[in-house]
Symmetry: C2
Amino acid sequence: MRLRVDVLPGEALPYPDVVLVVDVIRATTTACCLLEAGAEALYLVAGLEAARAFKDRDVLLAGEVGGLKPPGFDLGNSPREALEAPVGGKVVVLSTTNGTKAAHAAARTAKHVLLASLYNAHAAARLARELASEEVAILCAGKEGRAGLDDLYAAGVLAEYLGLLGEVEPEDGARIALSVKRSYQDPLEALALSAAAQALRAVGLEADVPFAAQVARSATVPLLTGRVGEALIFRRAHPGQGG
Amino acid sequence: MRLRVDVLPGEALPYPDVVLVVDVIRATTTACCLLEAGAEALYLVAGLEAARAFKDRDVLLAGEVGGLKPPGFDLGNSPREALEAPVGGKVVVLSTTNGTKAAHAAARTAKHVLLASLYNAHAAARLARELASEEVAILCAGKEGRAGLDDLYAAGVLAEYLGLLGEVEPEDGARIALSVKRSYQDPLEALALSAAAQALRAVGLEADVPFAAQVARSATVPLLTGRVGEALIFRRAHPGQGG
C-alpha cells in the first residue's frame, strides 16, 4: 500500500480514498475526546461565526480564540476538558481553523476522512488500513500555513504503525515524518518544542500538551459521515467494525 | 538569529530579509554550476514560453521538459552539463517550474534571495549569515506542491551549518529539516530516495543525483539582483565580499 504524508493541506491535489487528518494540538485530539465522552456527532466548522449559526439548535458550541473559550461558547478546545464534558448524546459544533481547513481539503476528493491524533493513533491507523485499498494519506493541518513539528511527529507515529500493520511504500512526505518520529526520545519531547505548544503555554493551557502526547489511549476514530451546510459531520467509528 | 524552514512555498506569508531557496534536484544546483562555469547572469523564468520570449536576445536557453532538454534549447537542466557548458560571459535563461515559483514567492517580501543547494551549502549559509540581521528563512521548492525529501535534507544541512556559524533559534520547520538531515547516513542516501531522483532515473539522468549530493564544493552563490519582465536576475556572489 502506498503511504503519503502531506506536510500541509495542498491547493488542488487529489487525495486518495482514505485520508487521516492530523491536528494533534489540539483539534483532532479534542474531537476524539468529545466522541469518547459520548457526543453523538461533531460538526466541524471553520470559525466562530459558522459555529454561532448553529446556536439556536440543540447543540453545544466548542472552540477557541487565541487558545481560549470564545464568549458564549459552552466549551473551549481542550481535550482534557472535552473528556469530562457533559456531552452525552449531544451534537457538538467544534470551531477550529487549521483542522477544519485540512478536513475540508481532504473531503474534496477522499472517500473516507478520519481525524487522527496520538491519542487514537493505533485505532485510526487500523481503521485507515481496513478502509484503504491502494493508498492512505496523512494530512497534517499545520498552523496558519506553516508545517507543525507536532503534526509531523504524529504523522510519523501513524506511518510507523501503518508499516507494522502491513507493507507500505512511503513517498517523500512519509519519509520526512518518519525521520521526525525517530529523532525524538518520546512524544512529549517533540510536541513540547512545537509552536502550537508554545502558544498554549502563553495562555496557561500547557497541561494540554502532555495530554495530547499520550499515544493510543482511545479506540475512537471520528469518521466523516456527511455535511450540514458548511459543516463536516463526524461520528464515532472503531476499527474491526467491518468498515 | 531566528531560523525558519518552509517545507513548501507559502501562499501569502511574509518572508524575512534573507531567504535561501532550495531546489536541490536540480534547479538550484544547476544555477550554481552555470555561474561557476562563468555565466554572467541567470534569468530564472517559469516555463518554456517565458524562456523562449528571450530567444532573439544574445542569451542561452536552459531548462527541461520531463527532465530532458526542450526542443530549441541550448542546454538541459543538468548540473554536470552546466559545469562544462560554454557559458562564459553569457546570460543563461533557466526555465524551471518549482524553483522559480519558490524564488518568486521569496522575492515578494525578502530583501535578499539566494539560491542554495548542497553543492554550495556552506558558502550560501555563510552569505546568508552575513546579510541577515534577525532571521534567515530556507524555502524548499518541493515538487508540484509536495514536500521533497531531497530539499528537506538540503535544508537540514544548511540549518546545521548555520548553527555552527552562530547561535540560531529553530522553529518547527527547521527542526523537521534537522531531523531529516540526521536520519540519513549520507546525502546520497537521502537524495536517492526522493521522488525527484526517481523521476531522473526514469529518463536516464540518474548521474545527476550523486552530483547534486556533493556538499560544499562551490563558493558561488546565485544572488537576486533585479528583474527583467517576469524573469528574476541572479548573479554570482561569494561570502566575505562585504555583503
